[in-house]
Subunit: 152 residues, 2 copies
């Protein structure tokens, strides 16, 4: 696929990013789970107390994919990049765009001298699992996600 | 249990924290997984680009437990506190110390108006799972941890 530009996220990408987040939530069978607003995303990405970063894949000036990430900390291996969401919009899937985004973050992990790059994948998402296996990723099913939810 | 003080972590706690991290790794059947150094922990907690925070439980001036945490980001629910490790040293377990540490972070989550508090637990760790169930936590087994490791 030609004319795919991978670049850092910008303020004007936020509406497209929220659409991609909603598209992923629907794909993950949780269409109503997205309670975050465009305003909150804008502030959390570009405010003084930034909570995440993102890169985008652009095709003919349109954002068709994103990788949303931030730094986490392993008490075994130190600081690392955690990929929260890797999303390519439906009509642009299976063209290698996800790979370009994923590899950009691997490159950044290496460039920063970090020992680990991490993410989570749903156990039924075989397309995604096959994608990660191509990178010889370690896929560990032994951890359970614990959560407490609040409605402030 | 009396004389348990829960307080913010300090520089001089780092050697105790590394011992607790190693104790947890051994309990989790990964005794050789801890490659992090005292120096790296010190820098990552108290350096200019801080990557985690911790609180400790102190008994008669000795650190007997810790909760190590940092901020993560859910694209569904926004910024949240993620509990990386909750550790109480073996001879002080089952005395309510873990609960004091865990509840301190729940209190902080609420005080900051966040919508989520998160952690992971190994699927065979029934003692820990029973502990989290007392808080009516959501325990979700459907996510697989993906990792790529590097040795810079």
């Amino acid at each position: 696929m030609e004319h795919i530009l991978v670049r850092s996220g910008k303020r004007e990408d936020i509406p497209s990013i929220l659409n991609l987040i909603k598209e992923l939530a629907a794909y993950e069978k949780e269409p109503n789970a997205v309670v975050i607003s465009e305003e909150a995303l804008m502030n959390d990405a570009f405010g003084t107390d930034s909570a995440f970063e993102f890169i985008v894949a652009e095709h003919d000036g349109i954002v068709v994919g994103t990788a949303i990430f931030y730094y986490c900390y392993s008490t075994w291996r130190g600081k690392y990049i955690y990929l929260e969401d890797l999303i390519v919009t439906k009509q642009h899937r299976r063209l290698g765009i996800g790979g370009k985004l994923f590899e950009a973050l691997i490159k950044r992990t290496r460039a920063e001298g970090l020992r680990q790059f991490g993410w989570q994948v749903l156990d039924w998402n075989n397309l995604a699992i096959d994608f990660y296996k191509k990178y010889n990723a370690t896929l560990d099913e032994s951890w359970v996600n614990g959560r407490l939810y609040f409605n402030p």
